[in-house]
Amino acid sequence: MGRVAGKKLFSIMALCAMVGLLLLPIAVSLPSLAIGADAPDAVKKEGEAKVEKGRDVYYKTEGIVVGAPAPKTVDGPKDYPRYNFESRVLLWFANQQHLYYGSFVLAVPIFCMVIEFMGMVTKDKAMAKRYDQLAYDFIKISLTAYSITAILGGILIFTFLTLYPAFFGYLSSIFRPVMHIYALMFVAESGTIYIYYYGWDKMKEGFLKWIHVSMSVVLNVIGTLLMMLANSWIGFMMSPAGVDEQGRFLGNIWHVIHTALWNPLNVHRILGNMAFGGGVVAAYAAYKFLASKTDEDRAHYDWMGYIAMALGVAFLIPLPFAGYWLMREVYAYRQQMGITLMGGLLAWLFIIQATMIGILFLSTNYYLWQALGRMRGAEKYQRYIKYLVFVLCVGFLVFITPHTIVMTPAELKAMGGQQHPVLGNYGVMSAKNGGINVIITTTILSFVWYMRGNKVSTVSWSKFGNIFMGIFFGCAYVNIIWLAIYGYYIPANVRVGLSVPQVATTLSCLFFMFALNGFMMKGAKQMGAIEWGKISVRSQYALIMLATAFTWMMGLMGYIRSSVRLFWHVNEIMRDNSPWAYTHTVGFAANMISFNVLFFWFSILFVFWLGSLGVKKAPVEAKAGVPGGAPQPAEGH
């Protein structure tokens, strides 16, 4: 009893220490913040004549100048020291690798929190143990990645300091207190994640388990705040605020952080990180599945892959909508920036992005259809899959059709213009909105089929429920397609508004149909257990496709977001006067993104391999599973 009380006391102390660490950066940074706030007063005391006021470029408020203007750089060793290589490419590589690992280690603890919580509230003890083991497996993968993230962060800072000293000096002069908070929060994050991981076994029951889950909440709060602080830097580079037109800091650090694009970037990034994290864990599970020698291992990793995929896709579905919001805010901030992105220099990259989104959804659907094969009773859905394939392909083709077509001069002459008389119609936003919403709605339908694959509803109103569901989906398709067609007959400024009812229709399908399906399947008759592990090898390649496509798309979108600044380090404040102040071709960007993606996957496979070195094989008798039963954990702690 005394030992349990001691453990409780220890856990509470650990939690308090973590909360203290969380608050420490704020306390430490207060004097730094005060510099910004007090400096004007100090200047005032010296005499009113010395006070210089500036006007905030974004908020349009007046403030007292407390910072130096943005440096006017010149191409030379002082501002742009270099190796015998393009500095921008080196920075691109360092930045991208840090971001990949950072996204991964931010997303995985969120999965752990959700899965550990699910394990705690599940009444079935075997199931609870499985969830707990899964959460542990997840955090184990992320721990080595966490160290690599920190190392890559160091490399990134050194790259900035050595190759772009003038720019980094300016940025750190503006964000000085934020950077200190960031560093201290990183310390808090490190402490929390290590206590969370190493305390897993000691805090596995009762009240201590709740403390453990609470720690994961603290861990994720810190992680999310870290991400938001880092986003404030890129937000400032794209849409500066809190400075005057010369780039002089006006004393309000909140204005500098809370720029026009900060919140859309936060939302878009957190969703993207989650989808990416799900993809990486799904690929890990697929690798372990393909390398498994026993049915039990295959069952476990099949299940793990499914959970990771479902979590990733859950965040992938709202991602395009968050992207729309970000683009809308970009247009609202600077219209020419939006035009450069979607109708100018970078427009072809958006066609690649559309292709990637299509690939992600097609892979997800393919995996779900393959997964139906491990359920008895799911055969009834197989004959309808060809129709879903047709609908998805049509949606995909419309979604990726460019406004103007790649062609030879002879073809151009024969066609009489850059727009094809038929295909040209599909290159506009109205058609594309219809295309992507049809794809997402079809993915939701595939998920609904998967969830009821081996079940037969026993509720008295099941027939009515099925008819209602069918009509709801039918009406959703009609509404989406009709709005897409209607968009051709109205002015562009009104047409933009049509995306709202289209998105609302898709989200209605997601929430209402999932809820309805859940009610209908409550207490449903099972046609047979899900035979985990009895899934085709092809399905695992779909997961790997999903992971690779996520990684590629992250690289692509990061490049687009960064290159939209064109020749500015900080948009309209600090010019890039290096020899690389131009935008590369699409082809070069694609090659560089592929290189980054492949490097990341090589290194993460190394991380997986490192993780497998510490695994102790569980005793054989502990792994004796019931054929067709629930998968057992494949590895011990």
Binding site: A283, A286, Y287, L290, A291, Q335, Q336, I339, T340, M342, G343, G344, L345, A347, W348, F350, I351, I352, A354, T355, M356, P402, H403, T404, V406, M407, T408, P409, Q418, G427, V428, M429, I544, M545, T548, A549, W552, S563, L566, F567, R575, D576, A581, Y582, T583, H584, T585, V586, G587, F588, A589, A590, N591, I593, S594, F595, V597, L598, W601, L605
Partner: protein, 178 residues
């Protein structure tokens, strides 16, 4: 092709030397005939794979800069190498096949990116102070257009931007996509 092989050898001779060393070691140390035959065969496959990898790296290195539609060939070559190794090295088959598949996906996406029209944003215009008060209405309108559509947009339209020849296919190298 000769240059490519020469470049591949200059990059990868240590690897080839290592495989050759293993070859000699196997010939000398393995006494059992069947085991020796197996080891010889695997080393032969390893040698072929090493050659393919080096050629791919040399090709990738040579065509990394500039929009080059042949660059994905390197990635496809590595894909083929991974799958070949996956067949003959069953213990690492899962890892090799996954790696090969990832290379294939990357090759497809890189190929797509290189196939699309290639437009490179030009260097920024020089900073200059303008006196708007002395401009004519037309000059002001021109400045407005520049501010609104920015240099890259206009230069793409008028063909004055830094525009790379895409390839001998001479495709139309610009246009808005959406």
């Amino acid at each position: 092709m000769g240059d490519l092989i020469k470049e591949a050898l200059s990059i990868g001779w240590p690897l080839l030397a290592l495989v050759a060393g293993l070859f000699v070691y196997s010939v000398v140390s393995i006494k059992d005939g069947a085991a020796k035959k197996r080891a010889m065969f695997k080393l032969l496959i390893g040698m072929v794979a090493a050659c393919m990898l080096m050629v791919a790296i040399a090709h990738y290195k040579g065509s990394f800069y500039e929009a080059n539609r042949m660059l994905p060939v390197s990635l496809v070559l590595i894909t083929a190498m991974c799958f070949m190794m996956g067949i003959y090295f069953p213990n690492q088959a899962a890892l090799l096949k996954i790696g090969g598949f990832m290379f294939l996906v990357a090759a497809g996406l890189s190929g797509y990116g290189n196939w699309l029209p290639q437009v490179e944003g030009g260097f920024p215009p020089k900073e200059e102070k303008k006196d708007f008060s002395s401009m004519t209405a037309q000059q002001l309108a021109d400045e407005g257009e520049k501010t609104h559509f920015r240099w890259n947009w206009k230069e793409q339209r008028t063909g004055r931007g830094r525009q790379r020849p895409v390839s001998s296919l001479s495709r139309v190298p610009r246009g808005d996509a959406g």
